[in-house]
Symmetry: C2
Amino acid sequence: MTISFASSQLSEHDHKKCVSAALDTAEHICIIRGVQLTPIRHKVLELIWESHKAVKAYDLLDRLKLIMEAAKPATIYRALDFLIEQGLIHRVESLNAFIGCSCSDHQHEQLLLICNRCHEVEERSAVKVMEVLAHEIEQANFILHSKAIEIHGICSKCDAQAGNKN
Amino acid sequence: MTISFASSQLSEHDHKKCVSAALDTAEHICIIRGVQLTPIRHKVLELIWESHKAVKAYDLLDRLKLIMEAAKPATIYRALDFLIEQGLIHRVESLNAFIGCSCSDHQHEQLLLICNRCHEVEERSAVKVMEVLAHEIEQANFILHSKAIEIHGICSKCDAQAGNKN
DNA sequence: CTACCATACGTAATACTATAACGTTTCATC
DNA sequence: GATGAAACGTTATAGTATTACGTATGGTAG
């Protein structure tokens, strides 16, 4: 018999590779920068990478508690703060949630394509958009600290699925 | 003698005109659309327009209570929901706060330039950015529902002020 | 060695943000 | 004057995040 997984939209990719790549990169970056990817931080990053969906802090907390009874909100938020500082995760402002950053070693501040159906979040570099945006910001004499570009809608996979059903 | 105001960054503009223009536009739009700009909704919109800073829901609530003891969170959130639906205000996702929309009759989904010092928020149409962004989204086969582009940094006024002090 | 300091973490309390659920009022319409 | 929809009143609760203070650990200057 064959076993079919209750699969994510990105099921056809090898997610274990995503996770291990992300964790390897994180470890590497932290060593280079001389910052500590402590066991808690490492675990939280791993939990975030369990899927490509944005995760809520308290969901992370519940999952962390399974292996660490003493975990409290501060435990999670401290880890999240660290991971964000190091650019290893993104905060999705419009969801109050977090996703792994798949561009840790490249430029940051990407486009986030957030699917309202499957809730997966795709990062896109969108170099041209950033260029034009940078120009616009300059025109406004605005000194950039950070930017969040969050696009909500339906991803191509969900759209295709909906199409199949009709 | 002359009186100098404890002024906002935009003090040199006539803010009363901003407010009355916004309220007039809102009334107009609501009549056209056959929706009710009730006294509560009108007052909340007016409170939001007291400045060009993003306002928190509970700050609005406190201010609303001054003239309406019975106001409760739901009172505010219902008014905010209505105003957002009608495109009369924006929610600033990265601040959990709200600002008046100064483009109610034009296209929506603008750029928000959020000053981390004076906390004022400037809306910019940035047609070119939107064009390039739309193209990028199309390339991703993503079906757009809504977008939020929030830029944090220091506005030109605050930057100039800092410059003066040095 | 040990006193000191910085970093990370433990823990409890609390603040802040938002929604759910259900009842009441109002007003237009039949 | 019964009906239904929209707005609002009211209470409770859910969900998100921070503060404050105490403890443990490890590196380093004296």
